[in-house]
Structure formats: C-alpha cells, structure tokens
C-alpha cells in the first residue's frame, strides 16, 4: 500500500512539474520524468525480493527444474527495461528509436528463452518418438 500511494503522489507531482517545464525547456521536462522513473523503480525493486521468494516457493511446489526459473526472471527484467526505455523515447517524440528499443528487447528475450525452447522441443521429440 505504501508503495502505490507514494508512487501515485510522486507521479502526479512530477507530471504537473513536467507540464510546467514542457513549454520553455522540454528537454529538462524529459529528464525530470526520467529521474522520477529511476527513483520510483529503485523504490519498487526494493520489494522485489519478497515477490521473488513467493515465485520460488510456487515453482518449487510445482516440481519443475529450478534452472528453468532463471530465464523467466531475466525475461521479466528485459521486458521492464525495454518498456521503460521505449516509453521514454516515445515521450520525447522519437517513435523510431522506441521501435528500435522494442526490437532489441524482443531479440534479447528470445535469446534468453532459448534454453526453454530447446527443452520443450526435446520433450516434444521424445513424446512423438522422433528422437
């Protein structure tokens, strides 16, 4: 509750200040937004360890291999960074750069998920009797 209340208040105050700055110095308005994103994300990630512990417990109960859990965590991180990077680029009016960030994020996520794909393919091959 503390996280969402503080985040909402900070985002509203920063939005208002950014609107004020947008007219005369739009570049500083963008930097202010970027600063707020950084500060709020640092704060939000301080709660992440508890969430990860819950995920890990659920994963352990499911009986799946723990090594498969790491790529999922990495893809979550990649999607967070990609989304924020692309949105900051979009806010500054650079749609092409935002698309590039999205594309790089997709490639990184695919590369990270490669062990999962190969394992799934192996299971399918065994089931089908093609191996």
């Amino acid at each position: 509750m503390e996280l969402i209340a503080k985040t909402a208040v900070i985002c509203i105050v920063v939005s208002l200040t950014a609107l004020l700055l947008q007219r005369d110095t739009p570049e500083l308005a963008l930097l202010l937004t970027l600063g707020a994103v950084t500060v709020v994300m640092l704060f939000a990630l301080s709660f992440y360890e508890e969430v990860q512990a819950i995920f890990a417990a659920v994963w352990q109960q499911s009986g799946l291999d723990g090594a498969l859990f790491a790529p999922i965590l990495k893809i979550i991180a990649i999607s967070l960074v990609t989304r924020l990077g692309a949105d900051v680029c979009k806010d500054s009016g650079q749609g092409a750069l935002a698309s590039l960030v999205d594309m790089a994020g997709v490639f990184c996520a695919l590369l990270t998920a490669e062990p999962l794909f190969s394992q799934a393919l192996g299971i399918l091959t065994q089931l089908g009797g093609w191996g």
Partner: protein, 64 residues
C-alpha cells in the same frame, strides 16, 4: 525513496526555465541557449549515477 533527487531536478528545471525566459526577453538568445545547455548537463550528471545504480540493482536482483 530518494525524493530529494526529483525535487532537485524540478528546481533546476524551473530556475533554468525562468532564466531562459528572462534572457530571451532581453534579447540574449545565445546566452539563454547556454543556460539551458548548462542546466541539461548538470541534471544529466546527477541522473547518470542514479541510472547506473538502477541497472546494477536490476543485474543483481534478476541474476544476470
């Protein structure tokens, strides 16, 4: 949460915007541009450290 950083950036932005307007109204456009650039560099220098901290935290938390 480091809210001081946000207030610092907002204060620099408002001061730069006011100085910018004053200098433009008094016909010193090039000095206004220099002021904006100086503000931008100062804010960037503050922010780069925080962004670096954020990426380090993400790397540690998500086991990169």
């Amino acid at each position: 949460m480091d809210i001081d950083l946000i207030f610092k950036i907002a204060a620099i932005g408002i001061i730069v915007a006011v100085l910018n307007q004053l200098l433009i109204r008094s016909g010193r456009e090039e000095q206004a541009l220099m002021t904006t650039l100086a503000g931008l560099v100062v804010v960037l220098m503050i922010l780069v450290q925080e962004i670096s901290n954020l990426f380090s935290l993400i790397k540690t938390l998500f086991q990169f």
